[in-house]
Amino acid sequence: MTAREGAAGARIVDRGYQHYTGERRGIPSALRAIMIGTMKRSLGFKRPGSAKVFPFLLVAASFLPFIIVTGLRLLIGDNISRRVAADQLWPYWRYFNWLGLVVLLLAALAASEALCPDRRQRVLSLYYASPVPPLLYLLGQALAVALVLLLVAMLPPLLLWVANVGLAQNPGVYWQAHWDEGPRILASGVLLALLNAALGLAVSAFTERKGYAAGALIGGTIVISIVAGIASTVGGGAAKYALLIDPLLSGPNVARWFLGHSLDRNIAGPAWLAVELTTIAVCAALVVRVYRRLAF
C-alpha cells in the first residue's frame, strides 16, 4: 500500500485496489522468473534451514580443492614447488574426478526440487495457465538446474586456473603456455553440468516425490557404476567399453580428454564424448515426452 503525505501531514494509507497500467513483459521475463525461483530453491534459499545444509555442503566441497591449493600457495609460496609444480598440486583432471561425484549429488537435490514439488502439489496447473508454454516451463527448469550445477562443475576449477595464472612467478609467460586450459575447463564443466542435469531431470520426471527421485538417481548411478566396473573387469577385450555407461566416469573422462590426460582403460576420448552427448539427448527427449503426456 502506498502512502501520500499532504500539506497538513494527513496520509492516505489505503487507496484500495489499483489497476496496473504499466509495462508488461513477455515470455523471456517469465522464463527468467522460473529459472531464478528454481535456482534459489535448489540452493536452499527461501526454504527452511534444514534444506540449506546439503546444498551448502556440496558447494563448499566443490570449492575445497581450490581453497586448499590456493591457500597453500598464498601461505607457503613457491617453497612447495620444490617437489611438485605449483599448478600440479591438484591437477584439473583430478579436480573433475572429485567434481563428478559432487555434481551428481547436487543434481539429485536440484533436479528433484525443480520438477517434483510442482507436480505433486499441482502448481504445474498454474504455470500451464500462464502465458508460458509448457515446454518453455520445462526449459526454464532445465536451465535453472544446469546453471546451479555449473556453479560447482565449472567455477571452482576455473578459479583454480585463474589463481594458477595469477600466482605464477611470471604470469605473462605462464598465460602464454597455459591459456588454452581455460576454455578446456569451461567446456568440461559445461558438459559435466549438462550430463548430470539431464540425468537428474530424467529421473525426476518419473516421480512426484523428491526423495524417490534423489534416491533413484544416486542409487541408480551407484548400481550402474558397480555393474559397469564388474562387466569391464571380468570380460575381455571389448568388455572394457562397459565403462562407458558409468555416469560417474563419463563426465570426468571427457574432461581428462579435453585436458590431455590419459583416459580410463584407454577408451578413446571421442567415445566418452559421444556417450555423454547421447545420454544428454536421450534424457532430454525422455523428459519432454513425459511432460507432453501430463494432463492439465
Binding site: E23, R24, R25, Q121, P131
Partner: protein, 326 residues
C-alpha cells in the same frame, strides 16, 4: 501501456462495458466416446457470470478450452477478442485462473509465490513484489503474507489462490468452485471477496459452481450447463422472473376477496395475506382490482412471481429428480 511481446501486442482486448468477454459457438469437446461439451454456445458479458451445473456437466472442460489449454473437437470460442486455440498465451496473459483443486506450494511464503505468479504473467520483478503485497492485503492476508503456505487454513489457502489469480490485474478471472472445502463462515467471506473483485476492483468474473446459493449471491448472469449442453443462460433477474404467476399481498386476511377471485374463475393458491393467482393476461389485474373493491380488501402489493434458482435449474436440466445441492 507498454507491452513488450506478441503475447501482449497481438490484438486489442475487448473490455468496454456492454462488450462480450467470452463468446462460444457450438463448442464441442470429446474424450473418446464421451462428449464432455456438446455444442455449447454462450456469451459472457462484463460483471459476474456464473457457470452452473452438476459435477460432470462440462464446467471444467469449458474453462480449459477458454484458457486454450485443450483443443476443441468442434466449434469456436473468443475470449477477450482472442481465439484461445490460436492465441492461448495472449488469453492467459489477460485472464486469472483459480483452480478447483489444491495448487499451492506448501513451503513457499505466500508473498513469494504470488510474486512469482505475477512475474510469470508478465509483471516486471519490482512491480510484482509490490502487487503481490497489495493483492494479498486485498484478500485479507496482509499480516500472514510472509508465512509458509503449508501452515495456512483452507480459507487462507483459497485467498492465496485468489490473490495469485489477481496479481497481474487480469481483465477476467475464472474461478472454479472457489467455495469448495470451506466452512459456512469461510464460504461467506469468499463470496464477499468475489463480490469485491467485481464491484470494487472492477474485474470481471466467471465463477463455476454447483452451489445454487453461491451463484444467486454473487452473480449477475447465469449459464446453466447440463451434460455438456447450455440448458439456459441469461441475466439472473430474467431467469428468475416468472411471468405466469401474480403475487398478491393483502393488508389483512380477507376471505371475501378470495371468494370473489374464485367466482371470477381464477385459481387462488396460498392463504392468509399472501396469495398467488395465474397471470394469464393483463385482464387478471382488472379482476383483482374489482374483487378488492367489491370485498373491501386492502392491497399491500401486487407483484409478478419469481422462481427460485433451483426451479430454474431443475426446469433447465429437464429432470426434476436430479437436484443440485442447495
Amino acid at each position: 501501456m507498454r507491452m513488450t511481446t506478441a503475447v501482449h501486442d497481438a490484438v486489442p482486448a475487448a473490455t468496454a462495458p456492454g462488450e462480450v468477454l467470452v463468446a462460444t459457438s457450438g463448442l464441442t469437446k470429446t474424450y473418446g466416446s464421451l462428449r464432455a461439451l456438446d455444442g455449447a454456445s454462450l456469451r459472457v458479458q462484463p460483471g459476474c457470470t456464473a457457470l452452473l451445473g452438476e459435477n460432470g456437466a462440462g464446467k471444467s472442460t469449458l474453462i480449459k478450452l477458454l484458457l486454450g489449454l485443450n483443443a476443441a473437437s468442434g466449434g469456436s470460442a473468443r475470449v477477450l477478442g482472442f481465439d484461445p486455440a490460436t492465441h492461448g498465451p495472449a488469453v492467459r496473459a489477460r485472464v486469472g485462473y483459480f483452480p478447483e483443486h489444491d495448487c499451492l506450494p506448501n513451503d513457499w511464503q505466500a508473498q513469494d509465490f504470488v510474486r512469482q505468479m505475477g512475474e510469470v504473467r508478465g509483471l516486471p520483478p519490482r512491480i510484482a513484489v509490490q502487487r503481490a503485497s497489495d493483492v494479498l492485503a486485498q484478500v485479507g492476508l496482509a499480516e500472514e503474507r510472509y508465512r509458509p503456505i503449508g501452515g495456512f487454513s483452507t480459507g487462507m489457502k483459497q485467498r492465496v489462490k485468489l490473490a495469485q489469480a489477481l496479481v497481474h490485474d487480469p481483465q477476467l478471472v475464472l474461478l472454479d468452485e472457489p467455495t469448495n472445502g470451506l466452512d459456512p463462515l469461510g464460504r461467506d467471506q469468499m463470496l464477499e471477496l468475489v463480490q469485491r473483485v467485481v464491484h470494487e476492483m472492477g474485474i470481471n468474473v466467471l465463477i463455476s459452481s454447483h452451489l445454487l446459493a453461491d451463484v444467486q449471491q454473487v452473480s449477475d448472469a447465469v449459464i446453466l450447463l447440463d451434460r455438456g449442453h447450455v440448458a439456459a443462460q441469461g441475466g439472473l433477474r430474467e431467469l428468475l422472473a416468472d411471468t405466469d404467476t401474480l403475487l398478491i399481498e393483502l393488508i389483512e386476511e380477507n376471505p371475501a376477496f378470495v371468494a370473489r377471485l374464485r367466482a371470477a374463475g381464477l385459481r387462488v393458491d396460498g392463504g392468509g395475506r399472501d396469495l398467488r393467482v395465474p397471470l394469464t393476461g393483463e385482464a387478471v389485474f382488472d379482476t383483482v382490482r374489482d374483487a378488492a373493491a367489491d370485498s373491501g380488501a386492502g392491497l399491500a402489493r401486487l407483484k409478478r412471481g419469481a422462481r427460485s434458482l433451483e426451479e430454474v435449474f431443475l426446469s433447465g436440466t429437464g429432470n426434476g429428480a436430479r437436484t443440485a445441492a442447495p
